[in-house]
Structures are given as structure tokens and as C-alpha cells.
């Protein structure tokens, strides 16, 4: 396929493509992937540029993997509109694209008398937000639904349609669908600047330039910097907020049925306990404001505190081993709302400040932005029969690759990842160029042994594929 993965030795003066694109999307996170898909399906000629060698490498690489209903979103907000529309479209395309959705439901649990008093307000807000199936659960019915919760749980609000999804396979297939229907992706292309001549943009990247009529900035954690680099100023400032998580052993998965949410405070939605579609149980995130847009370090004491919080809520977790820990960054801005800024005279749209709801809202954001784009006066012919690629099936309940014949070998035993899956993930335009990319596409090494058994085989299978190799050959000594 054309356009993928330019070599870094190409100079900045190079042209990445001679084509004039209708729309150029900056950033292949979950929002950018959904954006590229929406514009492509609407009939636009789309390019997407990403500074990392793999997609989903910024804020989208770590999150809570929950598809929200918007029950607790600010009333009347753009965020609520996009979450609701995102949820609707996710369900609409789910079966066509082979996406996963487990309607685990969520429970906003009150642990103190004070919190119990707040539950009524949460139900009211949910109903105002159009999520009308949200209802109160008293202590007895809560205990029946979640017998492993600590006895300190006093009551809860049930949100039946909150769902758990695969946070990587979904955006991968959004972008795959864009690519299969004509979009082009340019990886390892960090945006450095650009000029608009009144008709079209020339966007400069570290690996060459691209031409487009309209640009949609979905650069997430770097959204303000891209605006500054190209437009000269940004209307908002990204204020990264780190969230650390602890993943428990799969044996813990059966301890809860629903997503267990705390009663939120003014500052944060708080620490959540959630199952994943991969079969783990996770506690997190913390909310730590920081300057760095890259620092996803984890901290021993914070992780211990998270485990303590989880054990207090589910005593049965005290004897569960930890499988993994991770941290992610929310691309929050200095304000609490989404920052969608339009410059119609310059054919520019910035989608910024998509703090913690990007995964849920991305499809809705893409539709919202397409409508804004049309309001600039652009019009395309919608595709009538678009290609429908199938998402990777990595959910425990799904028909994983190992259940099909001809899988080659089981490479990662903990997560049952096959050689066929690894080889597929390493090939094609979106082929993994880093161990992180490979993990997101296959789950290799993400299980309880964290690579004890399979690192050597993976080092061999990925030889020559990664920018930063897992290993090098050595001679006889």
C-alpha cells in the first residue's frame, strides 16, 4: 500500500504525497482514527498523520476501556452530546466491524452516609441526560447483585448500559475502515508547521510535506502545540493528568459483575474498579496533574494505595496477585469542557481537551466535526457500500484466533496469542513498529508472566520489524 512509513532519512523538504487531500487529520489516537473514518465514509479524500511509529501511542494507549452512556456528563454539554452519539454509533456498527461490547453495567456505590445522600442527585442528572434506565439500588439489592463487595457499601445507582469494550481493537478498525476505503496514513510524521494560501494547506512534518484543503487537529496531548506550530497560537492549553492503574490476575475477574464507580467529587470521577473484556479486573485511575506530556511512570506507593482502595471495596482481592500496572495521560485542558475550535476562514478545526471520555465519544466527536466542516461549505458524496474490515477479536468471550485451525503456534501462553496473530500484527500499513504497538494489536506479554515465557520467541519473531529492537544477535564467545 502507498504512503506508509516513510524512511527517516528523507529530508524535511520532501513531499510525502503529491495528492491534494480534502481533509488532513493530525493525530492517530482514538479521536483521529474515528475522524479519518467519518470523513472517508462521507466521501472525502483523507490523510492522517501521526508522529509516533504506531497509532494510539499517546493518550489512547491507556484508559479505562469503558463505553460510557453519558449519565454523569455535564448537562447540556458538547461532551454529553458526543458521548451519547458515540455510544449510539458504536452499537450501530458493532456487529458490522466485529467490535466487542459487554454490557456489564455500572454501579455508583455509596460508601458513606454523605455519599448515600448524593445518589438521588446522580439519578436525576442521568435522567436529565436522557439515560432514563438509571435507577437507585438499596443495600440489599446491591448485595445481591455484587455479593463480593465489602459490607460497607450502603447503596448504589445502577447504570445498566455502561459497557466494557476493547480500547485498542475499536480505534484500529476505525482507521482500518478509513484506509480500506481510500484514506492514507503517514506514520512517524510529527507536524512542524504549515502554511495556508487561502485555498489549501501545506503542512510540514519531520518527514516531508502534505497538501490538503482542510485540517482537523486531533493531536490530543499535543493539540495546543500543533495549533501553536501551525497557526501561531492556541486557544487552549493542554494540562496532562496522569492516571495509574493496577491490573489483577484473571482469577479476580469473577469477583464483580459491574463497573464499580465511586460517587464523584468536584475534582475527579474517582477510582474505578472494572473488569476488562480480556478477563482481568483493574483498579484506577489516579488523577495527578503534571507538566509532562510523556511521563507515564508508575509509583510504588501510589500502586499500593490503589490496591488498598480496591481491597477495601472487594476484600477478596487481598489474596489476588497483580498481573500488570500501567499509567495513562488524559489530554485535559485548563477548562473542564471539550475544546472544539473552528477557523472557517482558514479551513481549520481543532479538537482539543478530550479529557477522559475520548474512547466513548470519539465516533460522536467525528460526526459533530463533520457537521461543522459541512457548515464551512464543503460537500462530498457519501460512500454507498463502504468496505467493512473486521476488528481483532481479543476478548475472552469472543472467538479468539486460537479457536480457529491453522493458528501456527501459541506464542504468548498467558494471553493465548498465536503466531498467526503476531504475524498479522507485524504486517500491513498499520503493522506494529514497537512492542507497545504489538501489545495493543495482540495482547502479547500483557498476561500474568509479563514475558517470562515468550519474550525470547517474540524477540525472534519481531526481528527487523521494530524501530527499537527487543534484542540483537551476538556471536560465539
Amino acid at each position: 500500500m502507498s504512503g506508509a512509513q516513510p524512511k527517516s532519512q528523507q529530508g524535511a523538504q520532501n513531499t510525502l504525497s503529491n495528492e491534494l487531500f480534502d481533509v488532513l487529520v493530525i493525530g492517530a489516537g482514538v479521536v483521529g482514527c474515528a475522524m479519518a473514518r467519518r470523513f472517508t465514509l462521507e466521501g472525502a479524500k483523507v490523510a492522517i498523520v501521526e508522529k509516533a511509529s504506531d497509532i494510539l501511542d499517546g493518550a489512547s494507549k491507556a484508559n479505562s476501556a469503558i463505553l460510557h452512556t453519558g449519565f454523569d456528563a455535564p448537562v447540556g454539554s458538547l461532551e454529553l452530546e458526543c458521548i451519547r452519539e458515540g455510544y449510539r454509533e458504536y452499537e450501530e456498527i458493532r456487529d458490522d466491524l466485529g467490535l466487542v461490547q459487554e454490557k456489564s453495567g455500572a454501579l455508583v456505590v455509596a460508601w458513606t452516609a454523605n455519599e448515600l445522600e448524593k445518589l438521588e442527585g446522580i439519578v436525576t442528572r442521568a435522567h436529565q441526560n436522557g439515560v432514563t434506565d438509571v435507577h437507585f439500588k438499596d443495600q440489599d439489592s446491591l448485595r445481591q447483585a455484587e455479593p463480593n463487595l465489602s459490607e460497607r457499601a450502603l447503596g448504589a445507582v445502577k447504570v445498566p448500559r455502561e459497557s466494557i469494550i476493547d480500547p485498542w481493537s475499536a480505534p484500529y478498525v476505525y482507521l482500518s475502515q478509513a484506509l480500506e476505503n481510500g484514506a492514507q496514513v503517514f506514520l512517524s510524521c510529527a507536524v512542524t508547521g504549515g502554511t495556508f494560501d487561502g485555498q489549501e494547506w501545506q503542512l510540514e512534518t519531520g518527514n516531508g510535506s502534505l497538501r490538503a484543503r482542510t485540517i482537523v487537529n486531533c493531536a490530543g496531548l499535543y493539540g495546543d502545540l500543533v495549533d501553536e506550530a501551525v497557526l501561531g497560537k492556541a486557544e487552549f492549553k493542554i494540562a496532562p493528568r496522569k492516571g495509574q492503574f493496577v491490573v489483577f490476575d484473571k482469577a479476580a475477574n469473577g469477583l464483580v459483575n459491574s463497573v464499580i464507580l465511586p460517587v464523584p467529587t468536584e475534582e475527579t470521577k474517582g477510582i474505578v474498579l472494572f473488569r476488562t473484556v480480556f478477563g482481568n479486573l483493574v483498579v484506577g485511575p489516579t488523577a495527578e496533574d503534571q507538566q509532562s506530556r510523556t511521563d507515564v511512570t508508575t509509583d510504588s506507593q501510589t500502586l499500593k494505595d490503589l490496591i488498598g482502595d480496591a481491597v477495601a471495596k472487594i476484600p477478596g482481592l487481598s489474596e489476588m496477585p497483580v498481573t500488570a500496572v500501567y499509567a495513562g495521560l488524559r489530554p485535559a485542558s485548563e477548562r473542564k469542557e471539550y475544546r472544539v475550535e473552528t477557523l472557517p476562514e482558514r479551513n481549520w478545526i481543532t479538537v482539543g481537551g478530550i479529557r477522559s471520555t475520548g474512547l466513548s465519544a470519539s465516533l460522536g466527536i467525528a460526526r459533530h466535526v463533520y457537521i461543522l466542516y459541512e457548515s464551512f461549505g464543503h460537500k462530498h458524496q457519501q460512500l454507498t457500500a463502504p468496505e467493512k474490515p473486521q476488528a481483532n477479536m481479543l476478548a475472552q468471550s469472543g472467538k479468539r484466533d486460537w479457536r480457529r485451525t491453522g493458528y501456527g503456534e501459541i506464542v504468548c501462553h498467558c494471553e493465548m496469542v498465536t503466531r498467526r496473530e503476531i504475524e498479522a500484527a507485524l504486517s500491513g500499513v498499520l503493522g506494529a513498529r514497537s512492542i507497545g504497538g504489538l501489545k495493543r494489536q495482540t495482547r502479547a506479554t500483557m498476561g500474568r508472566c509479563q514475558g517470562f515465557y515468550c519474550s525470547a520467541r517474540l524477540a525472534e519473531l519481531t526481528d527487523g520489524k521494530f524501530d527499537l529492537p527487543m534484542s540483537e544477535e551476538f556471536g560465539h564467545d
Binding site: V247, D249, K250, A251, T294, D295, V296, T297, T298, D299, S300, L303, K304, E319, P321, V322, T323, A324, V325, Y326, A327, W402, R403, T405, Y407, E409, I410, H413, C414, M416, S434, I435, R448, C449, Q450, G451, F452, Y453, S455, A456, R457, A459, E460, D463, L468, M470, S471, E472, E473, F474, D477
Partner: protein
């Protein structure tokens, strides 16, 4: 060499999960005892277990009366099993263990269920990864366990770094040093949180021979780096954190049984050992299942695991012949002291008959010097002096305890003079 298809039509007496030293020894012992229909199920490409990837001389004295490298040792074990007519199915994964010994088995031929009369778990141990140790810092490439390092170096002739730091001083850490030497890797230092090396002399001399600094009373605080390890921050006895430049971290030891099947299935698991709860015959909470070798507890040498596997094979043969006492009134062995790490077996069946393991195996979590006391709800019933270091064997004769106890539970604790 391997039989490709699991034949459902042929009844299976015993299925052994895992083809390391304990699994293969169990298979041989079963054969020797006249149990004929045995299958060994191995998920890896090749049989032999962990020693396969441990290229230096450290194996075989007990089993073959000569010093062998891990790969040579594995080949001998596998050849011996093959000669005895044991069917080893490689690339065969047990995906589910169900009540009464029913196993769901995946191979290239598809997914099938088998119902052997008995199952022996011999799935061994692995090292605790960085994540489960909650080590602070950046999530970067270049942090490996010894096991992963050895597989890379001895099986694939590839190396992940050239100047790593080695964390820990259990026996396996010195195996890691030898592995590094083989691949031209020069560790920058070896650190140990205790005051002295965990493994016995003369291992502790080895780093000095290699010119590697051994820093005791030193903890790893943080791993730093952008995409790859660039340095670590450690803190020593002077309590002054300092940075050590390196390009990798080898996390050695802190073994934990590979008990995923038991954990996610129906068997009782002991959080202290990390393995299934067993009685003195290695029998699990579902008496169709037995466990053996390092799955029982972390961690023993290949030789010891082999000897345990052989015994377990004999006990399972006895069980199939109806000669093993049925699960009956049992005595629970409980640890009630944070300085004691675990006790195995966790249950002793008091049938008034002897047999099975002769000792309770125990480990301490920190150096101890004092009296080990066993007590029931009615008071102390047994005691003995104990001076022990972490990861050293502590063995308590089962007969001594059983003869003193009529209750259904006995707990162990340390009495130590105040410092």
C-alpha cells in the same frame, strides 16, 4: 518422537501437565509402577521445561550422577521418557481444568476434551515480573526476568542489552551472571536488599570473580528511561539515593508457581505458596488432581523437583490401585507469622497410616534466629530452634507434629528474643 493426536478412543490413566523435570520423573515412575496409559501435555515447542534454556553446567548430579548443562540434561530426561514409552505431546495446551480431572486440550488438531483417571499438575515456577513487584518508574524496554534472558541467549542467541543491573542474589541470580558472561554482557552491578547474598557461599564470590560490584542492603527505587532503560535509582545503607547508568534490568528470583490453571479453575490455591493446596501425597482439593515439583512451592532445584515428581508418580500409581488412603480427617497447617513465608503441604490427612511426604517444607521471609513453635488452640505442642535465611530449606518432620496434635489445625510462629 511425539504422538501427534490425542486419541479420545483410548482411555488415559494419567495426564501430566508440564514436561519439566518433575513432570517427566512422574511419568517415568508411573510407567515403572505399571501404569501404562500416560500422556504428558507440554504447551511449548519442545519438551524439557526450564532447564532447556539454562545453558551452563548445573544439572544432573542426582538423576544421572554427572554434571550436565541444562539443555543436555533436558534431552536426557526426554529421551529417557520416550524410551520408556511415555507419550509427550508438545505444542499442546490445557485451556481448562474441570472437576473430576476433565481437561480441555488445544493442539494444532483442534480443541478436545480428555478424561484421564488422574491429572498431575507439574507446571513449575516463574519469576515475579516487575509489575507484580510494583517497582516504580518508567515503563521501558529492557527489564527482563532471568528466565526470559536465558531463553533469549541460549535458545535464540540474541541479547537484549549489554550492561544491565542485576537485582537479587538468589541462586538464579548467579545463573543470570553466567548467562551474561556467555553472551558478552557486562552487568554494571548486582544489588540485594538484605545484608548479605541470599545464595550460599561460594556463589557470592562469583560476582567478584567477574569484576561486578555486589551492593548489599541496597534497594531498587526506580527505573528510568525514555523508551529503553537508561538508568536506575538505588538506595543503599547510607540512605542516599543514587543513579546508576545501565541499559537493562535483570529481575532475578522471587519465584511464584505457574498456577494459572488451578487459580482460574476449581482447585483451592494457597496464597502463601501460590500453588494449589495439597495434602501429604500432593493431592489437591479435587482428589482427581495431584501437584508436584515447583508448582507446590517456590523454589527448589531441578534435581529436587525431579525427585518429588518421581515420588508423586509412585503415589498416583498407588492411588490408582486403591492403595492411597482416601481423603479423611485432616490437619490444617497454618502460618501465623509474617516472618514465615509458607508451609507445604497445607493439609495432613490423619488416617493413622504413614506415607506421602515426610516433611513440611517451609521458608522464611527474612533472616530469623529463635524458636519455631507449633501451637493448636490448646497451646504449644512442638518447638525447635531455628536459624534460617530467606530461600533456605526449612523442613519439619510431619510425624513429629502429627504425634502431638489431636486438633484439626496447627499454626506455626517464630519466638525471637528482642534485639
Amino acid at each position: 518422537m511425539t504422538s501427534p493426536v490425542l486419541n479420545l478412543a483410548t482411555p488415559i490413566d494419567v495426564a501430566i501437565i508440564g514436561s519439566g523435570p518433575s513432570g517427566l520423573a512422574a511419568a517415568l515412575a508411573l510407567k515403572a509402577a505399571g501404569v501404562d496409559r500416560i500422556v504428558v501435555l507440554e504447551r511449548e515447542q519442545h519438551a524439557g521445561g526450564i532447564p532447556r534454556s539454562c545453558g551452563h553446567l548445573a544439572f544432573g548430579l542426582r538423576e544421572f550422577r554427572r554434571l550436565l548443562s541444562g539443555p543436555d540434561y533436558s534431552i536426557r530426561l526426554v529421551t529417557q521418557a520416550n524410551k520408556a514409552g511415555v507419550q509427550i505431546h508438545t505444542q499442546t495446551t490445557v485451556t481448562e481444568a474441570l472437576p473430576n480431572g476433565v481437561l480441555t486440550v488445544l493442539s494444532q488438531d483442534g480443541i478436545t476434551q480428555i478424561a484421564p483417571r488422574r491429572v498431575i499438575y507439574a507446571t513449575g515456577v516463574r519469576e515475579t515480573p516487575r509489575s507484580a513487584q510494583l517497582i516504580s518508574g518508567a515503563r521501558v524496554q529492557g527489564v527482563l526476568s532471568t528466565g526470559a534472558l536465558q531463553s533469549m541467549i541460549y535458545l535464540k542467541r540474541r541479547r537484549p542489552f549489554v550492561r544491565p543491573i542485576v537485582v537479587g542474589t538468589e541462586l538464579v541470580a548467579f545463573s543470570a551472571l553466567m548467562t551474561c558472561q556467555h553472551a558478552g554482557i557486562r552487568p554494571v552491578a548486582m544489588i540485594e536488599s538484605e545484608q548479605s547474598a541470599t545464595a550460599r557461599w561460594p556463589c557470592a564470590l562469583y560476582p567478584r570473580l567477574m569484576g561486578i560490584k555486589l551492593l548489599t542492603s541496597t534497594n531498587l527505587l526506580e527505573i528510568k528511561g525514555n523508551e529503553k532503560v537508561e538508568s536506575v535509582v538505588v538506595v543503599g545503607p547510607d540512605e542516599d539515593p543514587r543513579k546508576i547508568d545501565c541499559d537493562g534490568v535483570i529481575l532475578t528470583g522471587k519465584f511464584t508457581p505457574e498456577s494459572a490453571l488451578a487459580r482460574c479453575g476449581h482447585l483451592d490455591v494457597d496464597p502463601a505458596t501460590g500453588g494449589p493446596v495439597v495434602d501429604q501425597w500432593g493431592r489437591c482439593s479435587d482428589p482427581s488432581y495431584f501437584a508436584t515439583g515447583n508448582l507446590l512451592r517456590p523454589v527448589e532445584t531441578a534435581g529436587r523437583s525431579w525427585a518429588e515428581g518421581r515420588q508423586t508418580g509412585q503415589w498416583v500409581a498407588q492411588d490408582l490401585a486403591g492403595d492411597l488412603p482416601k481423603p479423611a480427617k485432616s490437619l490444617s497447617i497454618v502460618i501465623r507469622d509474617s516472618r514465615l513465608k509458607y508451609a507445604m503441604p497445607q493439609l495432613i490427612r490423619q488416617n493413622g497410616e504413614n506415607g506421602g511426604m515426610t516433611n513440611i517444607q517451609m521458608r522464611v521471609t527474612e533472616p530469623v534466629s529463635g524458636t519455631l513453635v507449633a501451637r493448636t488452640k490448646n497451646g504449644p505442642v512442638w518447638q525447635r530452634a531455628l536459624n534460617a535465611q530467606p530461600e533456605r530449606r526449612v523442613e519439619i518432620p510431619i510425624a513429629e507434629i502429627v504425634s502431638q496434635v489431636v486438633e484439626d489445625s496447627v499454626s506455626f510462629e517464630m519466638n525471637m528474643p528482642a534485639k
